[in-house]
Subunit: 352 residues, 2 copies
DNA sequence: TGCTAAATGATGCACGTGCCTCATGGCAAC
DNA sequence: GTTGCCATGAGGCACGTGCATCATTTAGCA
């Protein structure tokens, strides 16, 4: 049984303050303040003395008190594509939910809709944001030089900016989303394991192959299939361009022209349209079908055996992770690594 | 493109204070304080007036300021079994990590080791905890009347208490962990889908069937297997009792006496011992193998094709969820529902 | 040595809430 | 009318930090 020595506990419960710091470093509270907040006019060896005291005492700034003093508030904007996509609806729902639940932390979230295919308009929207009432922005938009530049300019103006779900390359660690390559590989892995070692081909349906996300998924999918499931052959990607009529035509053609089809991978986040078309075709019931993202539609499709697995990223986690990261940037902290790695979820009928 | 009217933003960024409340309700700040903190000596209609003002203004108490005023600190104790279990090690690692990262929120976490099979000693340990230095406890222990009672007594003394991973039934919503039944069903689902429709039997290895968790997993497993994979037959559970020699004997026997084995489900959180035994036996390489919990060992086993899938609950998420729930209880708030539902993760070689 | 600028100290208010004390006014029972 | 209780008001201090102002000390330099 663990013992808790009284004094230790008290020490833990009472943390050192800037006053203690000042005393330990042999300076005044004003100088501690200068060092803590990076103001200039302090000699280097004084700075070092204070920093040493911070280490020695294990001082951690009381952010609540600091925020109180600064009347700091956080307002984060989620810049999302305007679209009727079910996955986006889920995202927005979670932003609303998070907005309520982070109210106690003085955080407010808003959604702004952008035209995802017009980098110029996105860039000029971002330019209108004012650091006075906007603390940070999470941006979901396909990669483009304009958007990447706009993000850098935001940061220069003191607004935290974060690519959201859609990756802007060269932002390195600074984004929120999953590894699309691994997600595609997981789809291939599941199709390979689920189909009964039958020789055959796999249909890949996408909304568009122009985005980096789609390309990466496809590469991950192909690589895994070739390497570990050589008996399966992936067909070229069908692109629906979000057009239902076009989807109807190309999917119907593909199914009828490929007699030895064993599986279908729906790569885009809008699984509903392709699935309904496949369902209406009727001849695809015993094919392995894998789609992306948890929505009411895909959940139901899993339950009713119309689909075999869903590769998903948790929309609530994505939203909260973005909020925490934006806040961490503002607070000049580092966020928890392991908490912010968004998992690639595998949803089956039994674990939704 | 979204527009943000100046005034609206300012309104959002500046929240009403108790002063505003007092003015709106036509009472003094002292009375607002009496109502907010549930002190008595206030007439009912006055209470109603204040509550109405809270609604009208959308007042939300500034917890940071309140904590500052109260010098409120949180110290949470995780009461865990003492064991060399890799999963437990992961849990402890995440408690340490969380402890660092929640420091900014004035939260400190400690681990206490309990004797999981001695409800009496657990109960008397819990009784020693002092509300002065312990804000809440997360308890990982098998279900028992003594522990359940001890939990209720803790709550009476003002210490938040929460069953952790191991369920104490009748605590309803108030616990942190996954649905074991669904986890077992998912294991069955995966084995059923992965094996190539071969008739055969499935070995189930457990540490002990005395715990409710194991029973529930087993029930979920059997139900799913019988319902959707009738061609497979689950064998009676092998219990290792944490004894390596015993494990060696019973597993070897089972494998040699069941010629038509197609899969193995390792139900306990300690997958290492059974897996090593199976590996040494050599004749099980092409059986479907499924285990529980992500540990360095299971991760490696996935990567090297020694195991086909892992059913896991994210230890970091479990820990953080427990902390958030305990804090919410202390703050008399309701936690975010969707954030606190721990997912049953399916880990494959491609998405770890 | 004396001058100037840079570095540091001293101090006080503000932030929003909890908690305490003391004063005041009303109302009912005697 | 007096007494005593109850509901409420008024005000102040504390929490830990940010930020501002003004005073004072120290270092650098001629």
């Amino acid at each position: 049984m663990a013992k808790f020595v009284e004094t230790t506990v008290r020490e833990i419960m009472l943390r050192p303050t800037t006053k203690d710091l000042a005393q330990a470093a042999g300076v005044s509270r004003a100088t501690v303040d200068r060092v803590l907040n990076g103001r200039d006019g302090v000699r280097k060896d004084t700075v070092d003395r204070v920093n040493q005291a911070i280490k020695d005492l294990g001082f951690v700034r009381n952010i609540q008190a600091a925020n109180l003093a600064k009347s700091q508030r956080y307002r984060f904007v989620f810049a999302l594509p305007r679209s009727g996509d079910l996955f986006l609806e889920e995202i927005i729902r979670h932003i609303d939910e998070a907005s309520e639940n982070f109210a106690a932390d003085l955080i407010v979230c808003d959604v702004a809709h952008i035209d995802e295919n017009d980098p110029h308009s996105i860039s000029s929207f971002l330019a209108t944001l004012d650091p006075v009432d906007t603390t940070g922005v999470a941006i979901m938009a396909p990669e483009s030089p304009q958007v990447r530049d706009a993000i850098f300019r935001l940061q220069e103006r003191g607004i935290a900016a974060l690519p959201f779900i859609a990756d802007q390359s060269s932002m390195a660690e600074h984004w929120v989303g999953t590894n699309h390559n691994a997600a595609g590989a997981t789809a291939a892995n599941l199709i390979g394991r689920f189909c009964q070692k039958t020789q055959g081909s796999v249909l890949v349906i996408s909304e568009s192959m122009r985005s980096r996300d789609s390309l990466e998924r496809r590469i991950g999918f192909d690589t895994e299939l070739n390497k570990n499931f050589g008996f399966l052959q992936a067909l070229p990607s069908l692109e629906t361009y979000g057009d239902e009529d076009r989807a109807q035509t190309i999917i119907t053609n593909a199914v009828q022209n490929n007699a030895n089809l064993v599986g279908i991978y729906i790569m885009s986040s809008e699984a509903r349209v392709p699935l309904q078309i496949l369902n209406d075709l009727g001849q695809t019931t015993n094919l392995i079908k894998i789609a992306h993202e948890r929505t009411p539609y895909t959940e139901n499709a899993l339950k009713t055996f119309k689909i075999d697995a869903v590769i998903a990223q948790d929309p609530g986690h994505l939203v909260r992770s973005a909020i925490r990261k934006l806040k961490a940037i503002k607070d000049k902290r580092v966020a928890i690594g392991s908490q912010e790695r968004i998992r690639i979820e595998v949803l089956l009928r039994t674990n939704i």
